[in-house]
């Protein structure tokens, strides 16, 4: 048996432990009305808003966050069983305006955050797409997802396990747990569709599926 808990997850758990006390104190009074339950039952700990663009302090349970994402951040919902998104970046040479996008996906009644963003990985411009599960890590591991991007006769496919939104967007990005393509390759993919090489047009398609029955 391979251990289900891997290094990436251990890393994020340690991270969470360090976060924990400050975090709960901060929100317990205002939003989440369960002041004594936090340590004994971390599953009931409220989630942070997964919208990472601006610092958003909203926390709550999944239902509340879904409403918040739709109403306050105007995030759209797609069918997670099969999706295809187009990302257009008009000025890909200037990555410092960190470009990123969030879309919500629905699969088996569960919700997933699909991130797409441009960033520098040790000075190399990259694009990255990955998924996070709106729920706890334990349940997240019962799902799998795939992301595919291509053009010009090439295709890159990533298949992974969504991370829980307990892990911050940044934690997941920095652990490189997703589909990463260099800007050079992304631009090569984009030249397929009669676009000038100054504009980036990436089509990311994928799906989410349940790997095994939930055992909670």
């Amino acid at each position: 048996m391979e251990p289900r808990i891997n290094d990436l997850q251990v890393e994020s758990r340690v991270h969470e432990l360090l976060d924990f006390p400050v975090h709960t104190n901060q929100i317990s009074s205002a939003i989440y009305e369960c002041p004594n339950d936090h340590i004994e039952n971390p599953k009931k700990k409220p989630y942070n808003c997964p919208h990472s663009g601006a610092k958003c302090d909203v926390t709550g349970d999944i239902q509340r966050l879904l409403l918040h994402l739709r109403n306050d951040h105007n995030v759209e919902m797609s069918d997670g069983r099969s999706f295809s998104h187009r990302y257009v970046h008009h000025d890909p040479k200037h990555l410092h305006h960190a470009t990123w996008m969030l879309t919500l996906l629905d699969c088996c009644g569960r919700k997933f955050c699909l991130y797409f963003e441009a960033f520098h990985l040790r000075k190399t411009p990259m694009y990255m797409a990955f998924m996070q599960f709106m729920g706890d890590e334990e349940e997240a591991m019962s799902f799998s997802y795939s992301l595919q991007v291509g053009g010009n006769g090439r295709k890159l496919t990533w298949q992974g396990v969504p991370r829980s939104i307990r892990d911050s967007h940044k934690t997941v990005r920095d652990s490189q747990d997703g589909l990463i393509i260099t800007r050079k390759l992304a631009l090569f993919f984009s030249t397929d569709n009669n676009t000038t090489d100054k504009e980036l047009k990436l089509k990311v398609s994928g799906r989410v599926w349940r790997e095994q029955p939930v055992s909670i």
Partner: protein, 326 residues
């Protein structure tokens, strides 16, 4: 030179045209003037008839210093000794033939003579049947489909060139490269100290399938500042033929996997060029170590892959036309 004998045998395979065959032996250079005078005269007749003359014209166009063919501006001294422009800059204004002062005289007459010449491609002995005006011959030779291939071994600079069967034998015998038959593969790359990327690790394996040869490269390098591993395939042959093939590479572990599907690049494109265009499976080291499992101290990557022949769908105009990646 064994290289020459190698080339010779390959020519026999390629050349089935009698005219070209003769051409090869006479090494013809034909003047345009003659050609237009007598339209029915083919290249061979002209070549055999004018051989002494054309050969000496050809010799006239050889620089006496470097023996390369001369291109405008061609220079001469007061006594009429000719010299190419590269060498003129190096002889300190002294004619290498008569030791007199060189001056700055251009030899327009010889340039005009050169212009009227038509010469076979220098890769004629490798099968190229084409004949070119003197000044466009050089341009053609750098892109001629029959020009020899460079050795695809990437580790050290290897200057060996030749045709594909020759290079396959060279890789096997001189570089001790592993040879595999079949269109699927399953390789393990293990490195005990993956933190040391400085001593760039790389590997080359040759695959033989569909009657063709493919080079699988695997290596560790720094992409900008980020340590990565990269695997890609190159086709041992020309680019147009390379596009008939596809390949996939897959690596993964612990619920994650990464799959690359692509078209092999021709070995005409250098190993470095393909690598720098990111045209292959790139694995960030963090992810590679995650795939390796264990304590992240050792790299253990299993790369599986497959090569297949693209279905001929060019009639539909579908994905068959793949522009070249520059």
């Amino acid at each position: 030179m064994d290289l020459d004998s190698m080339d010779c045998t390959s020519t026999m395979d390629v050349t089935d045209d009698e005219e070209i065959h003769q051409d090869r032996h006479s090494y013809a250079s034909v003047s345009k003037h003659h050609h237009t005078n007598n339209n029915t005269t083919n290249v061979n007749a002209a070549a055999s008839g004018l051989l002494p003359t054309t050969t000496s014209v050809h010799e006239l166009l050889e620089c006496p210093v470097c023996t390369n063919s001369m291109y405008p501006p061609i220079h001469q001294c007061h006594n009429g000794h000719t010299l190419c422009s590269t060498c003129k800059a190096r002889v300190h204004n002294r004619c290498p033939t008569c030791r007199q002062e060189l001056g700055d005289i251009r030899c327009l007459a010889l340039e005009k003579v050169a212009e009227s010449l038509e010469l076979p491609c220098k890769h004629m002995s490798l099968g190229c049947p084409e004949i070119f005006p003197y000044y466009s011959k050089l341009k053609h030779e750098t892109v001629c489909n029959f020009r020899p291939y460079s050795c695809p071994y990437a580790g050290s600079e290897c200057s060996v060139t030749g045709d594909i069967p020759f290079l396959v034998a060279h890789l096997r015998d001189d570089h001790k490269v592993d040879m595999h038959s079949g269109c699927t593969f399953n390789h393990r790359y293990v490195k005990s100290n993956p933190r040391e990327v400085e001593n760039a690790t790389w590997m080359l394996t040759v695959f033989h399938c569909f009657g063709q040869y493919f080079c699988l490269h695997f290596e560790a390098f720094q992409l900008g500042m980020a340590p990565v591993y990269m695997a890609f395939l190159r086709f041992m042959g020309d680019e147009t033929e390379a596009r008939n093939y596809n390949y996939s590479l897959e690596v993964g572990g612990y619920g994650r996997k990464l799959i690359w599907e692509g078209t092999p690049r021709s070995v005409r494109d250098s190993h470095r060029k393909v690598r720098d265009s990111h045209d292959g499976l790139i694995i960030q080291r963090n992810m590679a170590l995650f795939f390796s499992g264990g304590d992240r101290k050792e790299l253990k990557l299993r790369v599986t892959g497959r090569i297949w022949k693209e279905q001929q769908q060019s009639g539909e105009g579908g994905g068959a036309c793949i522009p070249n990646l520059s």
